[in-house]
């Protein structure tokens, strides 16, 4: 076995990958071909498909309405990711600098809010954010801090807040996982050498945590791009994101082929962006000797 591995180093990789590859090829890639095939067909009037080859669906994805929605979603997802990083990094750092026992508790405590129900959580935000009767506006107004309700609800602010809230742990977890092994003595050593804290951050903490930052950004950006419930509830449904358009094709317009085509185009764009992003951020070192 050892010899075999030595002779064919890729063998070990494929053995490790075998379960994941098998599972994903059978239960993901194979079904994905259904979507691919559907995207080249014509719609059944009320859902399903007619077996008639057509490129119309892909032509429609480049419609300016859908394109501008995509750009808007991209913008919202990017802002969400950035804010998550801004909030999530110090939080991950805070957790990673606690004593080991406290850390596990804190990490669990990070996730537990999300073991409640999504819809209920979102409604709880609604209770806080509503314009005229929301707790925040009501308390600020009764304290006399403001005299007109702040526009906290039914706009991009509320959508981004909801998305940030929903995906913050996805940013914190990978960053924490990389920061956790950060040697505190390393930091002390660095600051003993009179390195300013910003220098310590730039030279020591940030490079070490980079893989986590990259993973976290992905785990936040992608689902935010496809979000559709949060914009509907917290955004007041007054604007669309690409996730709404796609899910509407399946659930309202009965247009499965177009929904499939939109999904495919979005996936292709995202996949390309992701692969490029990963390549550019993680391909250094590796040449060890």
């Amino acid at each position: 076995m050892q010899r075999l591995f030595a002779r064919y180093p890729a063998l070990r990789a494929w053995l490790l990958l075998l379960p994941a590859a098998t599972w994903l090829f059978i239960f993901f890639i194979a079904p994905l071909f259904i979507v691919l095939v559907y995207s080249f067909l014509e719609r059944g009037t009320y859902g399903g498909v007619v077996w008639q080859f057509s490129l119309e669906n892909f032509r429609r994805t480049f419609d300016s309405l859908y394109f501008s929605t995509f750009l808007r979603s991209f913008y919202i997802a990017a802002v969400t990711t950035f804010i998550c990083l801004l909030l999530g990094f110090p939080l991950a750092y805070y957790i990673s600098t606690r004593p080991p026992q406290r850390r596990s508790t804190l990490i669990l405590a990070l996730m537990i809010p999300f073991w409640t129900n999504f819809l209920i959580r979102t409604y709880a935000w609604l209770t806080l954010l509503r314009t005229n009767t929301g707790l925040i506006n009501v308390s600020l107004m009764s304290l006399g801090i403001i005299d007109k309700p702040l526009p906290l609800f039914g706009n991009d602010f509320a959508i981004i807040l909801g998305l940030v809230y929903g995906w913050l742990p996805d940013m914190v977890l990978p960053i924490y996982a990389t920061l956790e092994r950060l040697d505190t003595s390393l930091l002390e050593a660095a600051s003993d050498l009179y390195a300013s804290s910003s220098k310590v951050f730039r030279r020591v903490i940030w490079p070490l945590s980079l893989p986590g930052v990259v993973a976290g950004s992905m785990l936040v950006f992608i689902p935010s791009l496809g979000a559709f419930v949060t914009p509907a509830i917290l955004g007041g449904g007054k604007s669309l994101m690409i996730g709404n358009i796609i899910s509407n094709q399946f659930l309202a317009a009965h247009d499965w082929p177009f929904g499939s085509a939109l999904s495919f185009v979005m996936m292709a764009v995202m996949l390309l962006a992701t692969l490029i992003y990963f390549r550019s951020t993680t391909s250094e070192e590796r040449m060890q000797p």
């Binding site: 990490i107 977890l173 070490l208 785990l219 992608i222 899910s247």
Partner: protein, 302 residues
């Protein structure tokens, strides 16, 4: 001249180090403030959610008065209780499977160079990128035309009758593998490979190296991935709805279907109960740990 410079330097050094200490404790203070702020943000809506589980009206948004009625209703609603168990069952099983598979995949992807890696990269990212609804519909059609079907397996285990919703579990694993793989991979990426070489150098064979060094070092990543997978699985609605067989419901499916008639504080009660349970679990594990001897804790010990 040299003695002068020394006497000048001494106070300036100590002033500097005192200032550094002040700065450090200020930094520590603001970091703590930040940490508490972060948790305040995360728990703010949760507190609201719990408060409304005691609301004396059907509304989950408008306070009317205090009552325990919803807890009573919840306990008597066998469907809700069953769907809660179903949710937990699916989440636990699919988390276990996806953690094992995803961790192995992460090791292959991070540690090896091989042909077809780019393809596997793509295959691993796709389940995260795909819109939920597209994945749900495609799996639904797939289970139908492949003949795999949806009917849960009826298993009898130690006298307990279980319905194993394999179609739901398969689907959850299909999206969870990727989340686990990404988190574990990030951890592996910054892990010092010489640790494994050191183990091998100290006569640990491939397996021993894995169990004694690689796995413990990966643990924070694995636990993070597991938590993420569990949470996603527990809260998934769209994919579960479309891939479940007739008669199998999870809590999110029940809750989402309440939308048209209005979601009642009963769901807040269920959520609050789960919250109490998980917090109690943490408390117990903390107590146990305090009682036990000082075992090395590796990252997140659940």
């Amino acid at each position: 001249m040299s003695s002068e410079s020394i006497t000048q330097q001494v106070p300036s050094m100590s002033r500097r180090s005192r200032w550094a200490r002040v700065k450090k404790s200020m930094g520590e203070f603001s970091l703590s403030l930040y940490g508490w702020g972060g948790y305040f943000f995360l728990y703010l809506p949760i507190v609201i959610l719990v408060i409304f589980s005691f609301n004396d009206s059907r509304s989950t948004a408008q306070w009317s008065g205090f009552t325990f009625d919803w807890y009573g209703e919840m306990i008597h609603d066998s469907q809700i209780i069953l769907s809660l168990w179903n949710s937990l069952f699916v989440a636990v099983i699919s988390t276990i499977i996806s953690v094992v598979i995803g961790t192995l995949a992460a090791m292959a992807m991070e540690r090896h160079v091989f042909r077809g890696k780019l393809l596997m990269d793509a295959v691993l990212y796709l389940p995260i990128i795909i819109p939920d609804i597209a994945m749900a519909i495609m799996l639904l059609i797939f289970f139908d035309i492949s003949g795999i079907g949806f009917e849960p397996w009826k298993v009898s285990l130690f006298g307990i009758r279980l319905a194993v919703p394999y179609s739901v579990i398969i689907s959850h694993v299909a999206f969870n593998i990727s989340f686990v793989a990404i988190v574990v991979r990030a951890r592996l990426a910054q892990m010092d490979r010489t640790l494994e070489e050191a183990a091998q150098d100290l006569y640990a064979d491939t397996w021993q190296t894995f169990w004694k060094v690689t796995l413990p070092m990966m643990m924070p990543g694995i636990m993070g991935g597991a938590l993420l997978a569990f949470t996603l699985s527990l809260d998934d609605f769209v994919i579960t709805f479309f891939t479940s067989g007739a008669g199998f419901n999870t809590l999110p499916v029940r809750v989402f279907s309440m939308i048209k008639k209005g979601v009642t504080p009963k769901i807040n009660a269920v959520s609050s109960l789960m919250l109490v349970f998980s917090l109690a679990l943490i408390g117990i594990s903390l107590l146990l740990r305090k009682g036990g001897d000082e075992e090395p804790t590796i990252g997140i010990g659940l």
